[in-house]
Every structure is written in C-alpha cells, then in structure tokens.
C-alpha cells in the first residue's frame, strides 16, 4: 500500500514537476499569508505583520529546499538535474566532447572489431558439427630443422592401423581445379579426402550423402563429389535434383552424391573448400602418390578417442614415428607432432601461434592510447575549468557535489563513446569486406563479442570518469583566491609542465604503436613482394590433361608436347614458351643426388646424398622464366635421348658440391628410383637459384632436359608480350591445331599461383593495415585535441603579447617553435622505444628484418607532421585574433 503510494508520488514529482513546484509555492504563500493575518489579528500593522511572518518562516526558499528533499524520488530528480547541467556544460566545449567521444569510440570499436575478426578467423574452433575441441591435427616434423611437412599415403595407412588414442584419423589436402558443369566452366577449390573424412569431422550432409567407406581410398575409388553448400546454391541453383548428375573436374567425370551442410568449409580454416572428392578417385600416378614413402602430400586430422588426451596421442604417434624411422630410411630423422584443434596449417600456425598474445598487447595499446587521449584532454580542460570550480567552491558548493557533477560529465562522455564504439565495432565487422576484398572471408561467423566490447567499455568508461573527477580534487581551498583572480591557476608553471609532459608521452606511445604496426606490415609486404628468382609477370602456365585419357601412349604424348612447344614458339602472340615438369619449384619432387663416385651401392634412390628439387624442362625454360644463366650453357634441342645425359644445377647446388671450383664439366649422379641404373649427368651450366616458395629460401635445384627424360605429364609455360599473361585459350587453340580431341585442362597465371601461396601473409598484412590505420587515427586525433586545446588556453597570453606589439607572424613562430620542441622530445623518446619494440617483434616474427625498421622514420614523420598541423591551425587563429576580443572573451 505504502509502496504504491510512494511510487505514485515519485512519478508525479518527476513527471509533473512544474505542477508540484507550483503547488509548493502556493502552499507556502498561503502559510505566510495566514501567519501575517494572524499577526494582524494580534494587533500588528499590515506591514509589520507581513514582515514578522516572513521572519518567522526563516527563508521561504530554505523551507522549499528541505521540503523537496523529503519528496519521493528526489534523488532521481537531482540526478536528472545534474545530467542536464552536465550536458549544458559539455555543450560549451564541443571540441573536447567530439574528440573525447571519437577517440574513445574508435578505440573501443576498433579494438573490438579487430578481436572479433581474428577470433572468428583463427581462434574459434572449426565449424564442424560435433565436439571440435576433440579434434587434433598432426604434422610430420624434421628433427634437424623443426620443419613441418605433410604425410605420405603409407604413413597415413600405418598411423590409421596402429593408433588407439584416436577414434578416427582422416587425410586430406586441397587444390584448385578446372570445374565444368552444365552451366559453364570455371575453377573451384577442391579438397581431396580419405573416405572417413566427413565421419571424423562429424559432418552430416545437408542433402544426399557424404563421402564414406564405400568410396574407398586406394586408386580406383568411386569418382564421386560432395558439393559445398554455397557452390550448390550459386552454381546449381540449390536444386536437389543435382544428386546423381555429373560434373567434370580437370576433365574427369565425377558424380554428385551429396551437399555439405551450410557453413562447412573443410578442414582448412583459411582456405574455403567448395568440393570434396575421394583422393583415390583422382588420376594420380600410383608410383609416387600411393607407393612412395618419400612422397608426402596429405594433411591429417584426427578425433581423440573417448578419455584420450592430446598428450597421449602425441606420445603414441611419436612411438609410431620412431618405428617408421627404424623401418624406412626415407623416414630417418622425422617425427610426428600433434597439435590440438584443427584447421590451421603448418605455415599458418607459425604466423598465428603468437597471435593471441600479440593481439592482446596490441588491443591493450590501442585502448591505452584512447585512454591517454582522454586523460590528457581532460587535464587540459581541467585547467580551463579551474576558475569555475574555484568560484563554485568559494560560493559554498561542497567538494562532494563538484565531484558528483564532474562524475556525471565523465559518465555522459563514456556513454557517448560507448554508443560510438558499438557503432564502429558493428560497422567494421559488417564491412569486414575491407579485408575480404583481399582475402576470402565471406563465411566467417562475425558475431559481436560482448565480453570484449564490455571490457573495452569498462576500461575506457572508467578512465573517462576518473580523469574527469580529478580536477575537483586538484582545486584546494587555499588556492581559491589566486585561482579566481588570475584565471589560469597559481600553479600554472607546474600544471603546464605536466601537460607538456603528457603530450610528449602521448606522442612517444603513439609512435611506438604506429611504428610496430608499420614494421610488421612492412615485413609481411616484403614477403608478398619477395623476388621469387624469376619474373612471374607475363607468364601463364597451362596444362593439358593426362593424354592417356585421349588414347595417347607415352611416346605419342611426348611427340604431342614437342609439337605443342614448337607451335607455341612460333606463335606471334607469345614471346616465348617452354615445357616444365613443375611450374612452381615447391611442387617439384625432391631427389637425392651425389658427386660421381660417392653414390651408394645398388645405385637406386635413397635418403642419403643431397636432397634437391628436380625439374624436367625444355631448353627455352631459362629464357622464358628469365632465370639468369651464370656459367656454362643452356640446354639445346640437341640434348636428346641419343646424346649423353646432361644437367644444369642452381648456384647453391654447385657451391655445395664443388666449392671454389667450376661446376661446369663435373658429373652428378641421380640414381633412378627403380629399374636400370642411370649414368651420371654432365653438368653443362649453372643458373641462379629460385625460391620454392616466397617465404622460403632459394633452393638447390637440378634441371634436366625433358627430351632426355620424357614425361607424359608436363606443363606449358607461355610468356605474353609486355608482361601481359596470355589467355589459357591460346593453349586451347594450339592444342586443337594438333589434335582437336585433346582438351585443355586449365591454366593459371604465375602471379595468381604465387598469390595463393602468400595467402596468410596477405590476410595478416590486411589486418595489420586496418589496425595501423586505427592507431594512426587515434594518435592524430588525440594529439590534435591536446595540442589545440593547449594553444586555445594560451589565447590570453598571446593576446597580451600581441597588445605589446608582437606580430601575428612572431606569435605563430612562438607557438610552432614550442610545438616543435615538444614534437622533437616525443619523437626522440618514441624512436628509442621503437628500437626496443623492433627487437621484440624480431623475436616474435621471424620474417621481420632490420630493413623493416624503415617504418620507424615514416611513422615519426607522419606523427610530427600531424602534431605541427595541430599546432598551426589554432595558433594561426589565435595570432589573428584582435587582442581586445581575446582578453575579453574569458
């Protein structure tokens, strides 16, 4: 009952405030009137009576105030009044509000968005149906170099047969293949998988069935394909009747048996796969892929058995690896490493394993800058508010009430910043297309992460509130008189020193952050721009399918390729053409080579000797790829099977075998894998090294003439005019001119092929780029705000100087000179700190090289310039101000 009544009163007190106040007025007026009337009745004159009544009431306003205090909901009413006051007070300094809200908002929003994106891409478990945390991935590891590698098919079979800690172990890998459907042709990312792949991941089909044990792993497995959900929707119109129809992948027919569930991207997080086929159904050379233990081409993902742990699995797989080591020379020096979670591949892991820690440091720094911005701004503003606060204190306001007021001002700022921050976080995550224009991220599940947002809000909000309350404590009563009198505060020297110190610190901190982002960005960019050792621009690799499917035997295949090459060489649209066994060196097989006379008995391939990349090429390859020939000669068309075997080695191989002497004229042994012995090859030339991958070192390479080692499976490299890669259709026409029945499998420009490889670096540098832009934005806004406010505060001083005869030019010089000194100091500290940051980054990222330090001067210049601009604009305004106006304006 009583509660209801109180609530009703509180409601009317808050909502019908005017009415309630008017009633109180009336009531008190009536009281005084009645008292006066009483006094009159007691014999006073009308005048006397009224005065006595007023005296007896002891101040109508005090009575009103204490009555109001008794009202229900009065605390809320006071809060509302204070809020209105705070808003009014903030409205008087719109610059401060705008900069504080912007800087906090960008800090909160940026930090949250970066976290969300990276979390979605890397830290969250794979989007598979059941218990992703029970998945492990395994990698082959070379003990000597800790280099991670894939597994051979035989490895996979052994592990699958022997493991007890894993309930299931699946093998897979991915590639891009030419896709032909009824509606047209294109390329698609295809994952080739073991028959238990979907079972181990726990993924059920959205339609039809997934690949299962009936399909098989060995060569000759069912040619079936499971469509990804998106490709089914986009290329097949989401039509359920596609089940049972066929598509062609690299001209081979596959029957569609099912559709994967929405959101399933395969087992590689950063490579969204679109189709899945059994690897046994691919036309792979069985000798290499299924029978050679040295042919490592599969990635493994396993599901832990009930009650098994990742550590247990590691122990068990290490044991199996040790047995493999002793049983097979090829596996000597290699172990197995188990990683918890799945979906991140080896090279990606290197880039990402330190990411969470680095990420939290970066986000922390970002928030720190945002908070520092607001703190220094608030201090500047506090100085400006000192007089007002001092006046209020002198007029009897309690310190508590001032703190309350400033607290509310801070809270208003924090709330405003939260709204802006939330908005920015939402916008940034939604338009993750900034990043996905560079990398394919359409399918990332970008949910707002409330924990991160909450943390960011709490930190910055608290800072905003704390720093806004500080000035109330700074004003001590003893200073009141001085403060009120001269307006700038008695301790002007001390305070301005503190402000200047803050500017220096802020500049230094921003510099470190910006320089660090720049260093990492530059390192990743450098990887992206690494010289592969040849000129990829203008090159197109095109491959004709396995000619056996067109009824060719190997002799006819070789003849076909020869004809193809000679037609390409005389094609006026091309400036060059060559045949190559492997387009990219990292696809080239590794073979063991020996100096003549040092080969092991038996004369067949083994793990001893020097492991080098081997490529079978046509004579023109070095010219077409623009690989410099350093010594000796190129291959010629005369180097065919009727002539003695010859070879060309890359420089590192030459130096490894024949240091300080000429390699040309030496003999190198490359034992055949099986069958007849192969005679040693005479080295006829030395060429420059090229890189197997952009992030790797140049590799030792053995080149042999394709004419002496015929191969039915080679690739045509074509160079177009003016660095423009020729279209794949060029090959189409050439091939059709020889035999119209031969279809072209596909092609790709070398630039695109190299790009696929630096996928991770590309993602990382895109993110760091976004991060750097946010940091720069924060730093410039913050510096501008603080410096500009500082100059505004000096308006009065500048006006006095102007009145005393200083020219606007002189004043401008004064302010800029001062700014320059601060900038120099901040930059000096910042550069020193950046040197330490650089050292830390080199420990974290192996790709960071000393040359990346160039980011430091760049960041310094950017910040110093933005700081000087911040000085210049308000200084010019202040210098031009009429001194009388300036002195009066306070």
């Amino acid at each position: 009952m009583q509660i209801v009544s109180l609530l009703r009163s509180a409601w009317s007190n808050l909502v019908h405030r005017d009415h309630v106040e008017a009633a109180l007025d009336d009531e008190l007026r009536a009281y005084v009137d009645l008292l006066a009337a009483e006094n009159e009745r007691n014999g006073m004159s009308a005048d006397q009576a009224r005065r006595a009544a007023l005296v007896a009431t002891r101040g109508v306003d005090q009575v009103k105030e204490s009555t109001r205090d008794a009202w229900a909901g009065n605390a809320i009413a006071i809060a509302l009044r204070e809020l209105r006051y705070a808003l009014r007070s903030l409205r008087r300094s719109p610059g401060f509000v705008a900069i504080s809200v912007a800087t906090l908002g960008i800090g909160i929003g940026g930090a949250t968005a970066i976290f969300i994106i990276i979390d979605a891409a890397l830290l969250r478990p794979l989007p598979v149906a059941s218990e992703p945390d029970r998945l492990i991935s395994a990698e082959r590891v070379k003990f000597a170099t800790s280099e991670l590698d894939d597994f051979s098919y035989e490895d996979y079979r052994d592990l699958q047969a022997q493991t007890a800690t894993l309930a299931g172990l699946a093998a897979y890998n991915g590639t891009s293949l030419a896709l032909e459907t009824r509606s047209g042709t294109g390329r698609a990312w295809v994952s080739y998988v073991s028959d238990n792949f979907f079972d181990v991941l726990g993924v059920r089909p959205a339609l039809g069935r997934v690949i299962n044990a009936t399909d098989g792993n060995a060569p000759g497995a069912n040619p079936v394909v499971v469509l990804g959900y998106d490709i089914w929707k986009n290329r097949f119109g989401g039509d359920s009747s596609v089940i049972g129809s066929t598509i062609k992948l690299d001209l081979q027919l596959f029957t569609i048996v099912g559709v994967a569930p929405k959101g399933f991207i395969g087992a590689m997080r950063l490579h969204r796969m679109e189709l899945w086929i059994p690897f046994g159904a691919m036309r792979l050379s069985p000798d290499d892929y299924f029978e050679s233990r040295g042919w490592r081409w599969l990635r493994l993902v396993g599901r832990l058995a009930p009650r098994a742990t990742a550590d247990g699995a590691q122990r068990e797989l290490s044991g199996i690896a040790a047995r493999l080591e002793s049983a097979y020379p090829v596996d000597k020096g290699r172990g197995i490493r188990v990683f918890t979670g799945a979906g991140i591949t080896d090279d990606e892991r290197v880039a990402t394993s330190r990411l969470p820690r680095l990420l939290s440091i970066a986000i922390g720094l970002l928030l720190l800058i945002a908070c520092a911005n607001v703190a220094s701004l608030s201090l500047v503003r506090a100085a400006a508010k000192q007089r007002e606060l001092a006046t209020r204190l002198a007029l009897g306001a309690s310190r508590a009430s001032l703190v309350g007021r400033l607290f509310i001002e801070g809270a208003v700022l924090a709330v405003g910043a939260s709204v802006v921050g939330l908005f920015i976080a939402q916008t940034l995550t939604r338009s993750a297309s900034i990043v996905s224009t560079v990398v394919d991220m359409d399918d990332l599940d970008l949910r707002m992460d409330w924990r991160v947002l909450g943390t960011a809000l709490a930190t910055t909000g608290l800072t905003a509130i704390l720093v806004s309350v500080v000035p109330a404590f700074q004003v001590s009563r003893t200073e009141l008189g001085i403060l009120i009198k001269d307006g700038t505060g008695g301790a002007v020297g001390r305070r301005s020193r503190r402000q200047r110190a803050l500017v220096v610190v802020q500049l230094a901190a921003s510099l470190v952050l910006l320089a660090s982002a720049g260093i990492i960005y530059s390192a990743f960019q450098r990887v992206l721009e690494t010289d592969p050792g040849f000129e990829p621009r203008g090159l197109t690799a095109a491959w004709v399918g396995d000619l056996r499917s067109s009824g060719y035997d190997s002799t006819r295949s070789v003849a076909f390729y020869r004809a193809l090459l000679s037609r390409a060489e005389s094609d006026p649209a091309l400036t060059g053409a060559a045949l190559t066994g492997s387009v990219l060196l990292r696809w080239a097989p590794r073979v063991s080579v020996f100096r003549r006379g040092e080969e092991p008995p038996g004369g067949h391939e083994s793990e001893s000797g020097l492991r080098v990349r081997m490529n079978k090429v046509s004579p023109s390859l070095f010219d077409v790829m623009q690989i410099p020939v350093l010594f000796g000669r190129r291959f010629t068309p005369r180097d065919d099977e009727r002539q003695p075997l010859v070879a060309i080695v890359s420089r590192r191989l030459a130096e490894a075998f024949w240091p300080n002497q000429s390699a040309v004229g030496q003999y190198i042994s490359w034992p055949a894998r099986r069958g007849s012995r192969r005679a040693p090859l005479e080295v006829v030339g030395v060429v420059a090294d090229i890189r197997p991958s952009l992030s790797g070192d140049p590799a030792m390479t053995l080149y042999v003439p394709v004419d002496q080692h015929p191969d039915a499976n080679t690739t045509l490299l074509m160079r177009g005019r003016g660095n423009i890669p020729p279209a794949v259709s060029t090959l189409h026409d050439l091939a059709a001119g020889i035999d119209p029945r031969v279809a072209v499998r596909g092609g790709e420009t070398l630039v695109d092929l190299l790009d696929d490889e630096v996928h991770v670096q590309r993602i990382a540098s895109a993110w760091i780029g976004v991060f750097g832009v946010i940091a720069l934005l924060l730093a410039s806004i913050g510096l501008y705000g603080v410096v500009a406010q500082n100059v505004v505060q000096r308006t009065r001083e500048l006006a006095v100087r102007s009145a005393l005869g200083a020219t606007p030019r002189g004043l401008l010089g004064l302010v800029l000179g001062d700014g320059m000194r601060l900038a120099a100091m901040g930059a000096a500290f910042g550069v020193i700190a950046s040197v330490f940051a650089m050292r830390l980054l080199r420990n974290l990222f192996t790709v960071v090289a000393p040359t990346d330090a160039k980011a430091v001067p760049v960041a310094t210049v950017v910040l110093v310039v933005s700081m000087l601009a911040a000085n210049y604009l308000p200084a010019r305004r202040a210098a031009r101000l009429n001194p009388v106006d300036a002195l009066r304006c306070d």
Binding site: S5, E27, L35, T57, R58, A70
Partner: protein
C-alpha cells in the same frame, strides 16, 4: 510562552497525525494545533513541518486538498486517511509502551 522543548526524533510524525485526528487542517493550523496539544512545549516551524507533511502525504497517511481558509484564502488542507488513522493507533500504543517502560526504568529505585 511556555518553555520549548526540542522535538524528539520520530515524535513529529505522530504529533502531526494526532493533530489531524479531529479535523482537516492547513499547515499553519497543524502547527497551531500541536502548540495547543502540547501546551506550547513543542513549536513546529515551517522548515520541519512541510517536509514532514509532504512525506506523510506521500506515504498515503494524509490526504491533501485545496480549500478555503477562515479568512477566505486558498490553502492546502491535510486530513487523515484510513491508513493514517491506523498508523496513529499503532504509534500511540507503541509510544505508550515506550513511556511505560521508560517510567518504570527511571522510577525504580
């Protein structure tokens, strides 16, 4: 004027309820009535009277309405509600209990 006594904490509310138990009164009327009831021992100034009246009204013990005063002025009259009357009863017996206990305590030898 009789000797004035400072109001005991909590006594003002019950005095106001008592003052209003006979008839509705305006603010000054309540003040005068308390004066009369306590033979001038307690004088309630407007600074404590009005906050108390408003508080009691918001609690639902008093009901206020505007009416004509004796000399034809508009004034706000307070009257006891049912809840107020119940509260007065409760506070009266509570007060008696305290007084009884205090007297017994102080007069015992």
């Amino acid at each position: 004027m009789a000797r004035q006594t400072p109001l005991l904490q909590g006594t003002l509310d019950v005095l106001i309820l008592k003052a209003l138990s006979l008839q509705p009164l305006h603010g000054l009327g309540v003040s005068r009535r308390i004066d009369q009831l306590t033979s001038g021992a307690f004088v309630v100034g407007p600074g404590s009277l009005f906050p108390a009246l408003h508080r009691l009204e918001e609690k639902g013990w008093l009901d206020a309405s505007w009416g004509e005063s004796e000399n034809n002025r508009r004034a706000k009259y307070y009257k006891l509600t049912l809840a107020g009357r119940r509260q007065l009863g409760a506070e009266t017996s509570e007060w008696r209990r305290i007084v009884g206990a205090m007297s017994a305590a102080l007069e015992s030898s």
